[in-house]
């Protein structure tokens, strides 16, 4: 059995005395694409920030590439991160290549290697020709690819995406997730993506985890999306008329998460 790239074991996070995540528990292996969904305020971004080692844990443990998350955060190594954002600052004085190179700055490996890695990453996401363009003048989809290239330049093991398609139209969103899947296949990346767009995430990920403070359900997207626990997490009914999930052929049962059963 291969070691998990990310291991989240009974994690609880509290902020200003209020529990925002409780008893979260799942693993992400190499080559897995895990989507984390949940309603607004469910703690999705907090969970990503905990994996990044940027928020303290009240209980439990998160290991990233075999090291505690907070320890990894101090070195900056091992992850590629695409944060939630709408657009780059329009007048930011840097070209796409400069921004991608910043993702590798913490590795302090010298200008030439940094430059080569950044050029490779831009080519992998299909925008090598935009290397010398000011980042603020790129379209939303192009900016998203620049951030993805920066994340790839930083790490080829784990990609963490926070609402990566906010502000993109449907074709650009589908194109973005198709690119992430192909990069995952090509590089064997582990991917964790958070999105409020349940259907888009279900179409892209191999495994869905639905949280609303605690874990409500996890499993393959088709099963999760039709589960009662999902409706419970969102406190509403869904009408999935357009909810065909294209890429999954196999089917297993979704697991309703009950921490007390352990």
């Amino acid at each position: 059995m291969t070691e998990a790239v990310v291991r989240i074991a009974g994690v609880t996070v509290a902020r200003e005395g209020r529990v925002v995540l409780e008893e979260i528990r799942f693993d992400v292996g190499a080559g897995a694409f895990v989507g984390v969904c949940g309603p607004n305020g469910a703690g999705k971004t907090t969970l990503l920030r905990a994996i990044l080692g940027l928020v303290p844990l009240a209980a439990g443990r998160i290991d990233v590439l075999g090291r505690p998350a907070a320890e990894r955060a101090r070195s900056g190594n091992g992850i590629g991160y695409v944060p939630q954002r709408h657009a780059f600052p329009p007048d930011f004085p840097a070209y796409a290549l400069d921004v991608v190179r910043l993702g590798r700055l913490h590795q302090r490996e010298g200008r030439a290697r940094e430059q080569r890695a950044a050029e490779e990453a831009l080519a992998r996401v299909g925008i090598a020709e935009l290397a010398a363009r000011p980042v603020g003048r790129l379209s939303g989809g192009e900016q998203r690819r620049v951030t993805l290239a920066q994340a790839l330049c930083a790490s080829s093991k784990l990609l963490i995406l926070d609402e990566p398609t906010v502000g993109l139209d449907l074709p650009a969103e589908q194109e973005f997730y198709a690119l992430v899947r192909s990069l995952r296949d090509e590089l064997g990346l582990a991917v964790i993506a958070v999105s409020h767009d349940l259907l888009a995430l279900a179409g892209a990920a191999d495994h869905l985890v639905c949280i609303n403070r605690r874990m409500h359900v996890h499993g393959q997207p088709e099963d999760v999306i039709h589960s009662h626990a999902l409706r419970e997490a969102y406190s509403c009914e869904f009408d999935f008329l357009a909810g065909e999930i294209a890429h999954h052929e196999g089917r297993t049962h979704a697991h309703r998460h009950d921490p007390d059963a352990r």
Partner: protein
């Protein structure tokens, strides 16, 4: 005018001060720290007044005071829920009030204090010139050592944190460098106009250049140019040096604005 030794020193000081203010001004404009610059420069008045009262070199006292205020702003600004502008308002008014109170309590030195409020580069002696250049070298070294990390923080603080950059320490360092730059700039244009050198050359450069290297180089050149040209014009027209330097910088900005719009 350069046949006089004091004018030679004044020109060297004006060039050096212009270079440092233009260089640090790049980040003042990029990170929208203009009000922080105002706060620190006005707070330095408290230190200068304290120095005059205690008989220690006023610029050294102003520097120590400015650095302490900068660190206070960085610390309280991060920890409190108040916005940084509010925290600056508290610190700067408190420190300036202390300066004015000390000036009113002491006897005979308000005139000296006015020299620091409005600058007096013609009075720079050989030893002070060396001191200014040492301080300028410290600021330049601090900026050069952390330039791209600071650029990353300006681009996205959270992303920089995720990749292991110590954003809090980088912020504090930038404010300390800003405080030292204010102390240097005060000699040329005074507390009340140092903002002109911190903001205007970099703002003018931002109107011309889309890449950080060009913008930084232009900002430095414009800072040095405003210092030298302002000094020469003030000599020819018998005007106050600080005000003339500031007016040259501001005129450059409006000419650029007109040219870029046409």
């Amino acid at each position: 005018m350069l046949e006089h030794a004091f004018m030679q020193r004044a020109l060297l000081a004006a060039l050096g001060i212009g270079v440092v203010c233009g260089g640090l001004g790049f980040f003042v404009v990029l990170r929208r720290l203009a009000f922080v610059g105002v706060g620190i420069s006005h707070a330095a008045v408290g230190g200068v007044a304290l120095g005059l009262l205690l008989g220690v070199p006023p610029l050294a006292a102003g520097g120590v005071f400015g650095v302490a205020i900068a660190l206070g702003i960085a610390s309280v600004g991060r920890k409190s829920r108040l916005g940084q502008d509010t925290v600056i308002g508290v610190f700067f008014s408190g420190a300036m009030a202390l300066g004015l109170a000390l000036a009113s309590a002491g006897r005979g030195y308000p005139q000296d204090l006015f020299a620091y409020l409005f600058g007096n580069v013609l009075a720079v002696g050989p030893r002070e010139l060396v001191g200014l250049f040492v301080l300028a070298a410290v600021v330049a070294a601090g900026l050069a050592a952390t330039f791209r990390a600071q650029l990353f923080v300006a681009f996205d603080e959270e992303l920089a944190s995720a990749y292991g950059h110590r954003v809090g320490a980088l912020d504090a360092l930038l404010l300390v460098l800003l405080a030292l730059t204010v102390v240097i700039g005060v000699r040329l244009v005074g507390v009340l106009l140092v903002e002109a050198l911190l903001v205007v050359p970099a703002a003018t450069a931002a109107l011309w250049a889309t890449h950080y290297r060009a913008r930084l180089a232009l900002s430095i050149a414009l800072g040095a140019g405003a210092g030298a040209l302002g000094l020469a014009l003030a000599w020819q027209l018998d005007l106050a040096v600080g005000a003339t330097v500031a007016l040259v910088a501001v005129a450059g900005f409006f000419v650029t604005l007109a040219l870029r719009r046409s």
